[in-house]
């Protein structure tokens, strides 16, 4: 079920809110059971058959959690962790990477050509709920959270609908206590609504409109004029940010409506001045997951040699790329960031620039590579990415075209809104004007208008994909 759909906003959400805050109000256990069942329904609405994959994941990780807790501080616990990783990564490998692996293996080993695999569909959000499941068992092992004896609580943590299919990847230690001891308040609830409306507007009004421009440019890769290619790449840069951060806003907002506090997932990433900073601001939950569950266990930056440090970073970025999908485009995109981070760490780039002399140059550097990176990320395959880069950096199809004029003219307002939305304008306004009544009233009016306009787009059923569902 999409958050930005009529069925979610006008049927599912009001029913769940009503039952949660009326009939089920007296019992936290009943509320949790209900949220879990509602989450399964939410998932099954789009993927009825894959709900069993998720349930299998819940059962297995609940068992591993109990075993890790039981054999804590013994040798067996390490074996259990290995077993847990094997099962979780095995599930994700079969559904997400097996076909890709076989296709590539066949290119290398001709003997494998006779093997045919059935087409394996990708369960929606598998990378998100699998990473949360791993987090659950590992956090118990590390004593960062208490084991849940009740399988429904594990189910609720892994399957909770706000963050189930497109994150943020909620760490077990973040909400371990909230599962039983959260407190719903009117203040949190209203903050949740505000956040949900902001996220919905980002997704429906900006991301969906930017998607039209990006899709047009990528469909005609190899034939785009230079300006159209850049327009398409910039539009995709905005699309992916407003799509994913919009979803995260909605998830965080929905969590707050039910008393959960998830950590932030984005912090104005496009204002960064280095790749290192970008990844501290972009998909924070994924970055910190890899840091805590991969980079640090590998040794992090406390290594004997630089080569080992480089290797650790390489593994993290290879995995980050692969996590996004079984395609060489994602691997290349991940490795591009590996190269940038190594450059930043092992060159004078990272020397303290106290007077911010190079601030603008660094910002342009980051934006250039980010936009170019999104091209390979968006491309269907490497040849299409190369064709698209050809459009961006050559004048073979001319500088300007009708397509550019049409799309730039039509989406200039959205591009301007997206540019402003990428910058911390609202926090700056708050800082400057404080708790100004007039601004507050203006904000309410603006958000009501944005909400109504977003609903109007949803009702009109125009273009509405969610990019991060694929991961």
């Amino acid at each position: 079920m999409l958050f930005s759909s009529t069925v979610f906003i006008f049927i599912f959400l009001p029913v769940v809110l009503f039952l949660y805050y009326t009939i089920l109000k007296p019992s936290r256990t009943l509320q949790n059971v209900f949220l879990f069942i509602a989450s399964l329904f939410f998932y099954a609405w789009g993927e009825p058959k894959f709900v069993f994959v998720m349930m299998l994941s819940i059962v297995m990780n609940w068992m591993f959690g109990i075993l890790v807790d039981k054999y804590r501080d013994t040798r067996a616990s390490k074996l259990i962790i290995v077993g847990d990783l094997f099962v979780n990564l095995g599930i994700i490998f079969i559904f997400k990477y097996l076909m890709f692996t076989m296709e590539n293996a066949k290119m290398v080993f001709s003997g494998l050509n006779d093997i045919t695999l059935p087409v394996i569909e990708l369960p929606i959000g598998i990378s998100f709920f699998t990473f949360q499941a791993i987090s659950y068992v590992v956090d118990i092992y590390r004593k960062d959270g208490e084991v849940q004896k009740n399988i429904l609580n594990v189910g609720l943590y892994i399957a909770m609908f706000p963050q189930l299919i497109a994150g943020p990847i909620v760490r077990y230690r973040t909400i371990a206590d909230q599962i039983k001891n959260r407190k719903e308040t009117i203040d949190d609830f209203s903050q949740g609504i505000v956040r949900f409306v902001i996220g919905l507007s980002k997704k429906v009004l900006i991301a969906n409109n930017m998607a039209i421009v990006a899709d047009f440019a990528f469909e005609t890769a190899g034939e785009n004029s230079m300006l159209l290619a850049w327009l398409g790449a910039i539009a995709y840069t905005f699309q992916i940010y407003f799509d994913f951060s919009g979803y995260s806003d909605m998830a965080i907002g929905l969590g707050k409506m039910f008393g959960f506090h998830f950590l932030e997932n984005f912090n104005y990433p496009y204002i960064s001045k280095s790749a290192t900073e970008f990844w501290r601001r972009w998909h924070i939950s994924l970055g910190t997951w890899f840091r805590d569950y991969l980079y640090i266990p590998l040794g992090g930056n406390r290594t004997a040699t630089s080569a080992r440090h480089v290797f650790n970073i390489f593994i993290v970025w290879l995995c980050t790329g692969i996590w996004h999908g079984a395609n060489w485009t994602f691997i290349c995109w991940g490795l591009m960031y590996f190269c940038l981070l190594i450059f930043e760490k092992y060159s004078p780039f990272d020397v303290k620039d106290e007077h911010h002399k190079h601030r603008i140059i660094k910002h342009i550097y980051l934006l250039f590579f980010t936009v170019c990176g999104w091209v390979i990320f968006r491309a269907e395959n490497l040849p299409q990415a190369i064709q698209y880069y050809g459009d961006m950096f050559s004048l073979d199809s001319g500088l300007i075209s009708d397509g550019f004029i049409e799309y730039f003219r039509q989406y200039a307002v959205y591009l301007a809104a997206a540019t402003i939305g990428c910058m911390p304008v609202v926090p700056k306004l708050k800082e400057k004007f404080g708790d100004n009544m007039l601004l507050n009233i203006l904000a309410v009016i603006c958000l009501v208008i944005l909400f109504l306009c977003s609903v109007s787009f949803i009702v009109k059923s125009t273009y509405n994909p969610f990019i991060y569902f694929n991961f």
Binding site: I11, D187, V413
Partner: protein, 390 residues
């Protein structure tokens, strides 16, 4: 945002969600009941979603809101989920779909075959090229192109090369010095009834001069009609995609002859056979289509004749010129049929999108018309509408 403002916003949002949600669920109760009764839980998703979208509470008002938003941000191409559904706002303020470029050779070949076959049977044939609302690309938003009239240019040239009798109404419009935009509705792709009256006059004059049928030209004088105008009333087919707040509403004019008329009308639609009769006022109009202002379901344009029938026949009891016409038509003929029938003893109109019983040739063998008119606007250029012989 401070706490009180957040609370106010929350109340508004919750109110919208709960009221719209509850009323929409109520509107969809039939589908929900059906799913429960048939235990069709595994496959109910698409049914429920489509019911929800179709019966969404205040659906048309939401589309109006969307139109207003698009208007405010200056959108001149309103996306509709596929290029054929995109709506373009032209520099003259009208809205329209865009038509793709087509090779007209195969269509011209079909028309030529029809002409030759009818000639063998001693039946006259006339091709009438109706205009497209977008005169040329200078009216389109920057960077966009439409090919309606360019395709029609190609068609006319190919038919002229084959010496087929034709009237290109676009040339007639130019010759008459009309303002092209004023001939069409703002929110609908069709031409206005007044334009239809003028075009019918031209067609009938051509028939009279070329084939020798006697006609009364006074029937095509606008002054011989009493005009009834519903102002700011009609939301056209294009406007229904954008909502009324994007480009407003059109006036719709109903023409009442000042002279005596007497007709009988017979038609076949999906709903079955329909008959009417009496004077022009009672025969040519379906008043249900004019009941509601800004109607998202019924097009006020369809007040003329009523529906897009598969086949319909109008007999004029006052005409005695012996003219029997078979009109191969699309929706533009909605405002041609009433006026052509004024000078025809019998007019049968066939819509090949809906009529599948016989080929045109078989139909001609059966009804033996004096003349076959093929009147298409450029958006009708698709093979399903060129199945004339088999």
């Amino acid at each position: 945002m401070n706490r009180n403002c957040r609370k106010i916003l929350s109340i508004i949002v919750l109110l919208v969600i709960f009221v719209v949600g509850a009323t929409t669920a109520y509107n969809c109760r039939g589908t929900i009941k059906e799913v429960i009764e048939t235990h069709n839980y595994l496959h109910c998703k698409s049914e429920l979603e489509s019911a929800l979208n179709e019966r969404f509470q205040w659906r048309n008002q939401w589309i109006n809101v969307n139109g207003l938003f698009q208007r405010c941000v200056g959108t001149t191409i309103v996306r509709g989920g596929g290029s054929e559904y995109d709506v373009y706002k032209m520099s003259n303020g009208q809205i329209m779909y865009r038509l793709p470029e087509r090779d007209m050779t195969k269509y011209a070949k079909k028309v030529t075959e029809l002409d030759r076959t009818l000639e063998e049977k001693g039946i006259h044939f006339l091709y009438v090229q109706l205009p497209n609302k977008i005169k040329d690309n200078s009216y389109m938003p920057p960077g966009t192109k439409t090919y309606g009239n360019l395709n029609a240019d190609q068609m006319v040239q190919l038919l002229r090369d084959e010496n087929i009798d034709l009237i290109d109404l676009r040339e007639e419009i130019e010759a008459a010095g009309f303002d092209w935009s004023s001939l069409f509705f703002k929110t609908d792709h069709h031409w206005t009834p007044k334009t239809g009256l003028w075009a019918s006059g031209l067609i009938m004059k051509h028939i009279s001069e070329k084939y020798g049928f006697e006609i009364n030209e006074d029937y095509y004088d606008y002054d011989n009609y009493k005009s009834h105008v519903k102002e700011n009333w009609m939301l056209g087919a294009v406007g229904r995609r954008t909502g009324a707040w994007y480009d407003g509403l059109d006036d719709i004019e109903i023409l009442e002859p000042k002279f005596d008329t007497d007709f009988s009308f017979w038609a076949v639609s999906d709903a079955g056979v329909e008959t009417r009769g009496g004077n022009f006022w009672n025969t040519m109009y379906l008043w249900d289509n004019l009941k509601t202002r800004s109607d998202f379901v019924n097009n006020s344009y369809s007040t003329y004749i009523g529906k897009e029938f598969a086949i319909n026949t109008i007999k004029n009891k006052k005409a005695h010129n012996g003219l029997k016409v078979l009109l191969i038509k699309e929706s533009f003929s909605g405002v041609l049929m009433p006026f052509i029938s004024l000078n025809s003893e019998e007019l049968t109109a066939v819509d090949l999108r809906r009529y599948k019983d016989q080929s045109i040739i078989e139909l001609c063998d059966e009804m033996q018309p004096d003349l076959v008119i093929l009147a298409y606007n450029p958006s009708a250029f698709s093979m399903s509408q060129f199945r004339f012989i088999k």
